[in-house]
C-alpha cells in the first residue's frame, strides 16, 4: 500500500507549501509597521485600526453581505426548482434548451457574462426605461443568474442519487405530489440545498468581474473596493483586510469540518448500534 510514498509525500509537502506560503506571508505582512508593504519595518496593528475605522470598507462589506444574502436566497429557490425539474420531469417541451441554459453559465467566461448583462441593462433602460440606475438591483440580478446554476447542479446531482421509491411510498400512503414535495423530497435534499446556498453566497461575496460590469455609481462592493486598490499595487491595509477575511473563512470551514466529522462519527456509532441489535 505504501509504495513510492517518499516521493509522493515530498510533492504533497511542497504542494501545500505552495498553497499556503503566499497566504501566510500576507498575514505576516499585515502586521508590518512599514508603509512600504513588502519591506519589514517592525510589528504593528495599526493597519487593522485604520481598516476598521474606514467607513468605506465597512459600507462596502455591508453592501456585499446584503447582495450575497439576497442573491443566494433567490438563487437557491430558483436553482432548486430547476434542479428538481431536470431530475424529475424527464419530458417537457424545451428541455434541451433548459438543460443547456443551466450549464452554459458554468463555463461562460465571466467577462462575457458581465458584458452581456451590462449591454442588456443599458438597452433595457433605453427601450423600457428600466433599470433607471445601475447598482444594487442590477448587481443582485446578475448574481442570482450566474449563481443559481451552481445550486441547480448540486440539487440535481442529489436528486438523481436519492431513492425515487421514497417519493412513491409517500404517494402510495395517500399524499398528493405537492405534499410529497414538502414532506419528503425537500427535507431529504435539504443538505444539498444548504450547500447550494452557501456556494451561491460565497460566489456572490467573491465576485469582481460581473459586479464591476453591472455596478453603477455609489455601489461599491468589498471586492470592487479591493480591486480598485489592488490595481494600484500592494498596500498594507489590504493585507490586513485579507487576513481578516482568510481567518474568518478558515475558521468557518474548520468549524464546519469538525461538525461534519462529529456527525459522521455519530452516524458510524449509530450504525454499529443498529448492527448489534440486529435480530
Amino acid at each position: 500500500m505504501k509504495r513510492r510514498s517518499t516521493f509522493l509525500m515530498i510533492v504533497l509537502g511542497f504542494g501545500f507549501a505552495f498553497f499556503y506560503i503566499p497566504i501566510l506571508s500576507m498575514i505576516v505582512y499585515s502586521f508590518n509597521a512599514s508603509r512600504l508593504a513588502t519591506v519589514w519595518g517592525g510589528f504593528s496593528t495599526k493597519w487593522y485600526v485604520s481598516l476598521l475605522s474606514n467607513d468605506k470598507v465597512i459600507d462596502a462589506l455591508f453592501l456585499s453581505l446584503k447582495i450575497a444574502v439576497i442573491s443566494a436566497t433567490v438563487a437557491t429557490i430558483l436553482g432548486t426548482m430547476a434542479g428538481i425539474a431536470l431530475a424529475r420531469f424527464t419530458k417537457f417541451r424545451g428541455r434541451v434548451l433548459f438543460s443547456g441554459l443551466v450549464t452554459a453559465p458554468l463555463i461562460m467566461p465571466e467577462v462575457i457574462t458581465g458584458i452581456s448583462s451590462l449591454i442588456f441593462f443599458i438597452l433595457m433602460a433605453d427601450w423600457v426605461g428600466w433599470p433607471g440606475a445601475r447598482g444594487f438591483s442590477t448587481i443582485t440580478l446578475a448574481h442570482i443568474t450566474f449563481s443559481m446554476v451552481f445550486v441547480t447542479t448540486i440539487v440535481q446531482a442529489r436528486m438523481i442519487q436519492s431513492d425515487r421509491a421514497i417519493e412513491e411510498a409517500a404517494m402510495d400512503l395517500g399524499s398528493r405530489p405537492w405534499q410529497v414535495m414538502f414532506d419528503i423530497t425537500l427535507p431529504v435534499i435539504s443538505p444539498a440545498i444548504m450547500s447550494g446556498w452557501l456556494l451561491a453566497f460565497t460566489i456572490s461575496l467573491d465576485d469582481v468581474v460581473i459586479t464591476s460590469f453591472t455596478t453603477g455609481p455609489g455601489s461599491t462592493t468589498l471586492p470592487l473596493l479591493i480591486w480598485s486598490k489592488v490595481k494600484l499595487g500592494v498596500t498594507p491595509d489590504i493585507n490586513a483586510l485579507a487576513t481578516l477575511m482568510v481567518l474568518t473563512v478558515g475558521a468557518g470551514v474548520v468549524a464546519a469540518g469538525i461538525i461534519m466529522t462529529r456527525a459522521e462519527r455519530r452516524r458510524l456509532a449509530d450504525e454499529r448500534m443498529a448492527f448489534r441489535n440486529n435480530d
Binding site: 412513491e168 402510495d172 399524499s175 431529504v188 443498529a274
Partner: protein, 364 residues
C-alpha cells in the same frame, strides 16, 4: 358468478416499443397470499406498479372489490406497497414513518392515530425502537417498519416487492413465517413479487409464474411443482431432467412414449392434449428417480453407470450416463457410516427407475 376480490383483465403495458406486460388476466381472492414469480424483466414488478397506480395499463382493466381502478392515482387507492428498498423516509423516526399514512385519515383523532401506530409497532415488535431514526436500526427492523407503515391504514390489498431479497439467508426464513402470521392476523390480501421460487412456494397460497411479460401458469405451489404445464415452468421451479420423446399410444391411465435418450419406452402420466405420434418433452424431477444396484419392479427402469457424484451430507446428487443422456438423480443418504452411506460409487453400474405418475409429459 360472484365478483372476485381482485380481477386483472387483459392488462398490457408497453414502454415505447418494449412490451413489459402482455395481456395478463388473473383473479385473486380476499385474504389470499398470491405470488408473482419470475426472473428479472419478466414484467412482475411492472404488474405490481400498475396495481399500486404508479403505471397506467396500456390496455386492459384492473378491478378491486368491484371498482374499476383506471385513472385512480396511487394516493386514492386502498392499496399500499412495501418497496423492495423499503423506502423508509430517512428524515423521520420509526414512529413517524409508521404514522405517515394516517395523517390522511381525516376522521381519526390524534389519540386514535397514536393508538394505531402503537398497535402497528407492537404487531411488528418494534415498540422499543419507536423514537429511533432509520439509520439507527438494522435491515431486518427496517423491513418491519416498511411493513407496519403499509399496514397502518388498513389497506384492502398489500403489495410486497421482493420483501425478503435484502435480508440475509437466516433472517429470511424467520421473516417468511412472520409475514405469514401477520397476514393471518390482519386478513389483508397480499400480493408478493419475487424471483425466488422457494420464497414463493413457502409464502403463497397460489403462484403465477411469469416470463417475458406473460403469465405461464397459475396454481397452488403443489400444482406448479407437480404438474407444470410447460418446459419453462418445469425448468424454472426446481430442477428437472428433460428428454425428447414421441407419443406411441395411450394405455389408460398412462401414455406410452418412446424416449431415445433413455434407450427405451416410458410409461408416463396421461395428458389430454397429447396425440399419437406427437413429439413431446418428458420431464422427471431428480428426487423422483430411484437409484439401485438391482433392477426394480417399476415400469420405467434403465441401466447406466455413475459418472459423477456430489455428496451433500443428508443426500447425494448422482449424474448417471445412459446410452444417449446424462440423468440427474437425488438420493437420500439414509444409512449411517462412511462407505455404506452412498448407494453407489463412481463408475458403478446402477439401475434408475421412476413411477409413471412422476413422469410428466409436456406438450409444447
Amino acid at each position: 358468478m360472484e365478483e372476485p376480490f381482485l380481477r386483472i383483465e387483459g392488462v398490457s403495458k408497453s414502454f415505447g416499443v418494449f412490451q413489459a406486460v402482455k395481456d395478463v388476466s388473473l383473479t385473486v381472492g380476499k385474504g389470499e397470499i398470491f405470488a408473482l414469480l419470475g426472473g428479472s424483466g419478466c414484467g412482475k414488478t411492472t404488474l405490481l406498479r400498475m396495481l399500486a397506480g404508479f403505471e397506467e395499463p396500456t390496455a386492459g382493466k384492473i378491478f378491486l372489490d368491484g371498482r374499476d381502478m383506471s385513472g385512480v392515482p396511487p394516493w386514492e387507492r386502498p392499496v399500499h406497497m412495501m418497496f423492495q428498498s423499503y423506502a423508509i423516509f430517512p428524515h423521520m423516526t420509526v414512529e413517524a414513518n409508521v404514522g405517515y399514512g394516517l395523517k390522511h385519515e381525516k376522521a381519526m383523532s390524534k389519540a386514535d392515530r397514536a393508538a394505531r401506530v402503537a398497535e402497528m409497532l407492537d404487531l411488528v415488535q418494534l415498540t422499543p425502537f419507536a423514537k429511533r431514526k432509520p439509520h439507527q436500526i438494522s435491515g431486518g427492523q427496517r423491513q418491519r417498519v416498511a411493513l407496519a407503515r403499509a399496514l397502518a391504514r388498513q389497506p384492502k390489498l398489500l403489495l410486497l416487492d421482493e420483501p425478503l431479497a435484502a435480508l440475509d439467508k437466516k433472517l429470511r426464513e424467520h421473516t417468511q413465517f412472520e409475514l405469514m402470521s401477520i397476514q393471518e392476523r390482519t386478513g389483508v390480501t397480499f400480493i408478493v413479487v419475487t424471483h425466488d421460487q422457494e420464497e414463493a412456494m413457502t409464502l403463497a397460497d397460489r403462484i403465477a409464474v411469469m416470463d417475458k411479460g406473460e403469465v405461464k401458469q397459475i396454481g397452488s405451489p403443489t400444482e406448479i411443482y407437480e404438474f407444470p404445464n410447460s418446459r419453462f415452468v418445469a425448468g424454472f421451479i426446481g430442477s428437472v431432467n428433460s428428454f425428447e420423446a414421441t407419443v406411441i399410444g395411450r394405455e389408460r391411465p398412462h401414455l406410452r412414449l418412446s424416449v431415445p435418450g433413455l434407450g427405451g419406452e416410458v410409461l408416463a402420466r396421461d395428458v389430454p392434449a397429447a396425440v399419437e405420434g406427437q413429439k413431446v418433452t418428458l420431464a422427471v424431477r431428480p428426487e423422483k428417480i430411484l437409484l439401485g444396484k438391482e433392477r426394480s419392479a417399476s415400469a420405467n427402469s434403465f441401466q447406466g453407470h455413475v459418472k459423477d457424484l456430489a455428496y451433500f451430507g443428508k443426500d447425494s446428487l448422482y449424474r448417471v450416463a445412459l446410452p444417449d443422456a446424462l440423468v440427474q438423480a437425488h438420493a437420500v443418504n439414509a444409512r449411517r457410516g462412511d462407505e455404506g452411506a452412498r448407494v453407489a460409487d463412481w463408475n458403478d453400474d446402477v439401475w434408475l427407475s421412476f413411477e409413471p405418475a412422476s413422469a410428466i409429459v409436456l406438450v409444447g
